[in-house]
């Protein structure tokens, strides 16, 4: 006869989603859709004088009276560091963790075709959102996220019309956005045989490419020959994803422990989720009344308050789905200033600066994304030779140090420091 209390029963917690799951996002909007615009700190809504106007202010297409194509991309490299909170019983003393070294490329491509004297048709391909936080292993936060990746690509046909005097232009178009999300993490459990915290499973959540339609409108007004005002708006959208949660056991080397883990692991199965993406609302004012400089200042608002929660739903075993993660992001503003100055008939130089507020509350700071307020400065050049146009930009972005201050909803507190370097190059051809 064996008599023992139920608590004696061995239940090793190997819940795949032991803590809240993927917030794939935070302020994951991208503004890098054209080298000239990036060189001007993203202050381009009232200038919008190259094909990337489809992204920054579609009304700007109307002032482009030559058929043109332009393509290029932005290469992004991060330098970051995570330091554990000295008062956190799990992360204290941890330091030196960082992302894997690799370059993220955000592509863009545009074509512009004017019709008659007032109408311009354009089509653009760009990435309005994106995220990659891929941590170097062994990474102490791997139970929350080893790798989070969100990709988007938008295809937008657009039409813009301007008055014959060019002082007023309006444009718009539908946006077809495709998106994909990935989250990779390990599940940890305490191995009762050796008392160590052991990686027992890997969960790789990968969605299929999903899609959604949105829209985009813009307005460009030139009240005087030297002043311009631009307004543009890109609609928000929530993308629904379907995908697969691939769950792979990681052998511990102890057959009994592995057997217990295996008995509790859910199987690989379909998964669904939805991600809210913000709108973009631009207001820009530009002037060419300051010497040879063309200067623009923009305010951009993103409606990140739409990003309130995130739910991951395991289709076959819904009871094992993680609890809905509360994020409660805030709407944000960014402030952008840029200038362009022709120095020769062929060469332009450009300068820019920005301050970008982050939407993420402190409790939501995590290895998936630790967003923070950013300041950036940019420098670029433009070169024209015959029909060819080459733009190149160097952009340094500094993220203010961000700590979770003991409030992490993942029980994972620490301080994140991030800097990014972005190089954008575009090549254009005007027919």
């Amino acid at each position: 006869m064996r008599v023992i209390r139920n608590t004696f029963r061995l239940v090793i917690p190997v819940a795949i989603f032991m803590t809240t799951t993927a917030a794939f996002a935070s302020g994951f909007a991208l503004f890098e859709a054209g080298a000239k615009a990036v060189a001007m700190g993203g202050a381009f809504a009232a200038t919008a004088d190259d094909p990337s106007a489809i992204f920054y202010n579609v009304a700007g297409l109307a002032q482009q009276r030559r058929t043109a194509v332009m393509f290029g991309g932005t290469a992004i490299n991060f330098q970051n560091n995570f330091a554990g909170d000295r008062n956190d019983l799990f992360t204290a003393g941890t330091s030196g963790s960082k992302y894997r070294a690799h370059t993220f490329v955000v592509p863009n491509a545009y074509a512009v075709v004017p019709f008659g004297g007032n109408l311009t048709f354009g089509v653009g391909v760009f990435a309005p959102f994106g995220l990659r936080t891929n941590w170097e292993q062994p990474w102490v936060g791997r139970y929350i996220s080893s790798d989070a990746n969100i990709k988007t690509v938008s295809f937008e046909p657009a039409l813009a019309w301007q008055t014959s005097d060019g002082r007023f232009a309006i444009g718009g178009g539908p946006e077809y956005r495709r998106a994909k999300v990935v989250l990779n993490r390990n599940t940890l459990a305490r191995n009762p045989f050796n008392g160590r915290i052991t990686d027992v499973a890997n969960t790789y959540l990968a969605s299929d490419w999903s899609h959604k339609w949105g829209w985009n409108v813009g307005l460009l007004v030139k009240p005087t020959p030297t002043w311009r005002i631009g307004l543009s708006y890109r609609a928000p959208m929530t993308v629904d994803f379907k995908g697969t949660a691939t769950i792979t056991q990681i052998p511990s080397g102890n057959a009994q422990f592995d057997a217990v883990v295996a008995s509790q692991l859910p199987s690989t199965q379909p998964v669904t989720t939805s991600i809210a993406m913000s709108d973009f609302a631009y207001l820009g004012i530009a002037t060419s009344a300051v010497g040879k400089w063309d200067i623009e200042a923009d305010i951009v608002r993103n409606s990140w308050s739409r990003f309130k929660t995130l739910s991951i739903n395991l289709v076959n075993t819904p009871a094992l789905s993680p609890p809905t993660r509360v994020s409660n992001w805030k709407n944000t503003f960014s402030y952008r200033l840029g200038g362009n100055r022709p120095v020769t008939p062929d060469w332009d130089v450009r300068l820019g600066a920005l301050y970008d507020k982050n939407p993420q509350p402190t409790f939501d700071i995590s290895p998936i994304l630790a967003d923070s307020d950013r300041v950036g400065v940019s420098f670029g050049v433009g070169y024209k030779r015959g029909p060819w146009v080459l733009d190149a930009t160097e952009f340094a972005l500094h993220f203010k140090k961000r700590g979770s201050n003991g409030q992490s909803q993942d029980n994972f507190n620490g301080t994140y420091k991030t800097d990014a370097n972005l190089i954008t190059v575009n090549l254009g051809y005007r027919f």
Binding site: M1, R2, V3, I4, R5, N6, T7, F8, R9, L10, V11, I12, P13, M18, T19, G84, R86, N87, D88, L89, F90, T91, A92, G93, T94, P138, V140, Y143, I144, L188, R190, N191, P192, F193, G195, R196, I197, T198, D199, S252, Q256, F257, A259, V260, N411, F412
Partner: protein
């Protein structure tokens, strides 16, 4: 109304007086870890799973503090694996109940007996407060504490004397657990240290330390009073459970069948829902002890040889016995608080730690509680801590030191226990557990002295 106003005035005056009169706590000495010594018992020694061995001694709470404080040469009386006594190990979790067995039949050996100075960690398994100021290591091995004192104190003086001999700059103390724990493990309040004895010994200990090292910083800790925080007392139900269903066996009226035991003084009776059955008694129950005689002819109980025989008084803690123990520990804690306050010594809240663990805590990805085997805080003997548990213990001390001395000693993180992030020594070298197996016939005798109450085969077959 007038009475109310008077009351308000008096309350306000009292509050004001309290505010004015409350002294700002200034801890004695400073948090200088140039010469760091620790005084304690089996928790301080790093006993785990009924064994003192070098696999776990690096995680004794003093060793963890030393590592975090950057102490360069923190010496402990290391014992080779499988330790004194042989470490209890989990060998089977596939079948119910899990099986725990000692890692061999012979003890390990002390491996740095020749250290030409006292150890920094002077903690003696089994020591109570009185032992700290009386044992010198030359006494006959008639108790657990005396056995361990022989190779830890080595006749060089008491724990306190050897601590002072090192001209300590900081002294960490946790003692008093065994003044209550012996009673808990034995299932009777009779072994509780009398309050006066405890008070006299505790104050004498601090007096000697303060007199011998007047400039040293110090920290002490209080004692858990929640017996429910120990899996030794919470892992065996006071009523019959069907091992197949793991649910209570019910009587004809749907009632649980509580065990019969000696409730004290030879009085037999059935346990109630608040009674606690000690972990080692599980093996007795498996042979029929405690099962009421009325079931003696009913299968499968009729196959058990001891049905109808009561559990011994030492197998259980009744509600009344628990209350006595809790009250005595509360009194001990009052003594500790007063003694510490009188000498400007901060008190680490170990009682609070145990209370939190009893409720369950999330640290990073890991949920820890006081469950046996799976809880993560207590080892396979049911009352000593695991490496993780001792780290949490040390962190309570570090937090107390930082608060009292305005230092910033980093907490020891549990992420050190990630399997591929092995803990590191202060020198940066990775601590790799020594899994070598050393057999010594001479050590076998010591094993029996370590914890005579423990049954080595707790696996309840």
């Amino acid at each position: 109304m007038t009475r109310n106003r008077s009351f308000i005035h008096i309350a306000a005056a009292l509050m004001l007086t309290a505010l004015v009169a409350s002294p700002v706590f200034a801890a004695r000495g400073s948090a200088n870890f140039t010469s760091f010594v620790a005084i304690g018992d089996s928790y301080g020694a790093g006993v785990e799973s009924a064994s003192l061995n070098r696999n776990h001694q690096p995680f004794s709470w003093p060793a963890v503090i030393a590592r975090q404080a950057g102490v360069a040469d923190f010496q402990q009386p290391l014992v080779s694996f499988p330790g004194i006594g042989p470490e209890l190990q989990l060998v089977d979790i596939v079948h119910f109940p899990p099986t725990i067995l000692p890692a061999g039949t012979a003890n390990g050996q002390p491996i740095n007996l020749a250290l030409a100075r006292p150890y920094n960690n002077l903690s003696i398994p089994g020591a109570n407060v009185s032992d700290v100021i009386t044992l010198i290591g030359k006494e006959p091995a008639t108790s657990t504490a005396r056995s361990f004192a022989q190779f830890i104190l080595r006749g060089l003086g008491t724990e306190v004397q050897q601590a002072l001999a090192q001209k300590p700059t900081f002294i960490a103390i946790w003692i008093g657990g065994n003044d209550a724990l012996g009673s808990v493990l034995a299932g009777t309040p009779a072994l509780l240290t009398p309050l006066d004895t405890f008070k006299t010994s505790y104050n004498a200990m601090l007096d000697q330390l303060v007199a011998g090292a007047p400039a040293a910083g110090m920290v002490v800790g209080n004692i858990p009073n929640n017996v429910l925080s120990l899996p030794y007392l919470t892992s065996v139900a006071p009523f019959l459970i069907d091992p197949a269903t793991r649910k209570p066996v019910l009587g004809p009226n749907g009632q649980k069948i509580f065990f019969v035991a000696d409730l004290g003084g030879g009085t037999l009776g059935q346990l109630d829902a608040n009674s606690l059955v000690l972990l080692p008694a599980a093996s007795k129950i498996a042979s029929g002890f405690g099962i009421p005689a009325a079931l003696a002819q009913i299968p499968p109980f009729n196959q058990l040889p001891n049905v109808g025989k009561p559990l011994a008084d030492t197998d259980v803690l009744t509600s009344a016995e628990q209350a006595v123990i809790k009250q005595r520990v509360d009194d001990f804690n009052t003594v500790i608080a007063q003694a510490a306050q009188q000498r400007d010594i901060p008190v680490a809240d170990i009682k609070g730690l145990f209370d939190r663990v009893a409720k369950g805590i999330f640290i990073g990805p890991i949920f820890l509680n006081s469950s046996f085997i799976t809880g993560g805080v207590f080892s396979f003997d049911g009352f000593h801590m695991t490496d993780i548990g001792y780290t949490l213990f040390a962190d309570e001390y570090i937090k107390t030191i930082n608060n009292a001395y305005h230092t910033s000693i980093p907490l020891a993180p549990l992420s050190d226990f990630l399997a591929n992030n092995l803990p590191k020594t202060s020198s940066g070298a990775v601590v790799v557990p020594d899994m070598s197996y050393e057999v010594s016939a001479e050590a076998a005798a010591q094993m029996l002295m370590f914890a005579p109450q423990l049954r080595r085969r707790q696996a309840v077959h």
